[in-house]
Subunit: 334 residues, 2 copies
DNA sequence: GAGTATTACGTAAACGTTTACGTTACGCAT
DNA sequence: ATGCGTAACGTAAACGTTTACGTAATACTC
């Protein structure tokens, strides 16, 4: 149906080699043939077939992105960073979810392998040994964004959750909070959960505040998790004056539940979030939060992968600096 | 480098045809050869090359998704619907942005053409005549989600913005609001802007309320647009008791600005949003909003495209029913 | 036991490109 | 006139599959 270079070659009276040369302007033809070929090409409505090209060049100009099963503003920013960059460098992105809790991570990686993506970006999914095996067996450059493994040789790009959490809690302490809760971190998540909890604990200890495990409400990174954490604080009659949340959505869950119970933020309770995702400046009150430069992480991570593809270079892991964005959800006590 | 079916064929002592048959289990071989081929395949770490397959089968099992340049929760839900469905049917999704205001829509479509996607989904971008031309010239099934064109023959899937807006405003009127503002709709956007404005106007008129153009604050669908709209209401000293917003994010902008100015929602002013995106139930107070079933729209739109690919059938446009989700951002007057 | 169906393969072309290599024709220096 | 370099092509193989068609062996039918 669609015209091929053979068709063009026939109509223009040249060989396919020449057509290919002209189309990819590689030189080696005179102006007349160029005009002719271009004209015929336009006339036949020729559109090049990337698949055929990929086959012979053994590269697809494609990068794969695997992300978790959830849709939050968090991922939107990262994705945009990735897509912008790959577009800029002439790559296409093919996207897939890893299933809930990474359940279809193997399938996803296999799929990326069959599609022969030139590079791979994995966002926020926890990889176990067998998954790492599959990953490296693909033999292509890859990077993990906002996650890491327990192995040294898998490159990642990520903020230091421990010290970011520390920063946030320290900030609360310096504003004279002494009974500080924590919400939304999963103690069974060694990558994104444990370090935040540890940062929280350490900050308390460094300032001579005893850690009260009852004030740590585990959960996921979602809104509901914040709601139930706050509910739990209320039921416990916990005298928390502040709560540090493992994500902005969790923080919104806290705020929302406070609202329903006529607890005022920040007058009655202070809240600090994590991520600085889109929602954080939309909340009431605007959320003080630890910023992860999500868009830039996507952008830079993608760039690294493309560079590695083109230069066959290695990708170095990189710890992204975090930053505390002060808005209005924290009140200084007397 | 990577093993091919030729390698398998050689090692297993059979022809490539047989290998192909076994791998795609098409039958026509006995159990022994099957075992043998499978074993060798595993041993060599064979992974099928989708590109080569695509070339001969003239189908890539791929669907393209083009969306706007922005990243909001809105698109996250749609994308997830699309990705879930395509995964389910064995398709991969390749994603690209259309650039700000659809600036790179032609490039995007051309790219999808070169990648030979089997079907195309375009989300929320306005298509002008030349873009429609490019689109149809691809000769593949496609559908527009949350947008449409002025031509009858481009299938879309979308709520009826006019009547959805009407529903929302009617709701406000029935709660005894008489001075109702509108925020965040772009009067130059014939697809998503104008109908909402018209629905708003019509509802007012039907209830004998005079339309005051000063109460219509144009803008985009984003948070900032809501902020400046509210700012404007305040500066105008407009006695609005309620405002209807063109999106949830706009509504949050309104609420946020109200908060800063110590205007209480819903006591002092009622707000209704549009979309029922993730953020709507996270706001304080939870947002009463017009629901678009975003995930389902992605899901169903994708399904339609796949069905059209497989049955070579036509896709019918579909108007999705909307629904008013009542939460707590609207107060009934006396 | 002749004919026919069926099973289990193999052969080779095809998909739409790219590209190494060969070839011609011409210009130019010697 | 000879040799050589170069521009402007063409030829054909290769990329990794699928698949129409052919074929040999076996099983079945009567």
């Amino acid at each position: 149906m669609a015209a091929t270079i053979k068709d063009i070659a026939r109509v223009a009276g040249v060989s396919t080699a020449t057509v290919s040369r002209v189309i990819n302007n590689l030189g080696g033809y005179n102006e007349e043939t160029e005009k002719k070929v271009m004209a015929v090409s336009k006339e036949l409505g020729y559109r090049k077939n990337e698949n055929a090209r990929s086959l012979v060049q053994k590269s697809t100009n494609t990068i794969g992105v695997i992300m978790p099963d959830v849709t939050t503003a968090f991922y939107g920013d990262i994705i945009k960073g990735i897509e912008d960059t790959s577009y800029e460098y002439g790559y296409s992105v093919i996207l897939t979810h890893a299933g809930s809790h990474g359940s279809r991570i193997h399938e996803s990686m296999n799929l990326m392998g069959e599609r022969r993506v030139d590079g791979l970006i994995i966002v926020s999914v926890e990889l176990h040994e067998s998954a790492i095996q599959s990953l490296t067996s693909l033999g292509i450059p890859y990077i993990l964004i906002s996650t890491k493994t327990n192995r040294e040789d898998t490159p990642y790009m990520k903020v230091d959750d421990y010290s970011a959490a520390y920063t946030a809690v320290k900030y609360l302490i310096e504003h004279n909070h002494r009974t500080i809760g924590m919400a939304g971190a999963n103690p069974n998540d060694p990558i994104a959960g444990v370090p935040r909890i540890n940062g929280y604990k350490q900050a308390l200890q460094d300032y001579g505040i005893k850690v009260d495990l009852n004030l740590i409400k585990p959960g996921g990174f979602n809104f509901e998790s914040g709601q139930s954490a706050m509910q739990s604080f209320i039921e416990d009659d916990a005298a928390v004056t502040a709560v540090f949340c493992a994500s902005d959505e969790v923080a919104l869950g806290i705020i929302s539940t406070c609202f329903e119970n006529e607890i005022h933020v920040p007058n009655d309770i202070s809240v600090v979030g994590y991520d600085n995702s889109k929602v954080s400046h939309m909340s009431v009150p605007p959320l003080t939060t630890v910023a992860q430069p999500l868009y830039d992480m996507g952008r830079e991570g993608c760039f690294e992968v493309i560079a590695a593809i083109q230069n066959k270079s290695k990708i170095e892991s990189k710890v992204i600096p975090h930053e505390l964005v002060v808005r209005k959800s924290v009140k200084s006590l007397e």
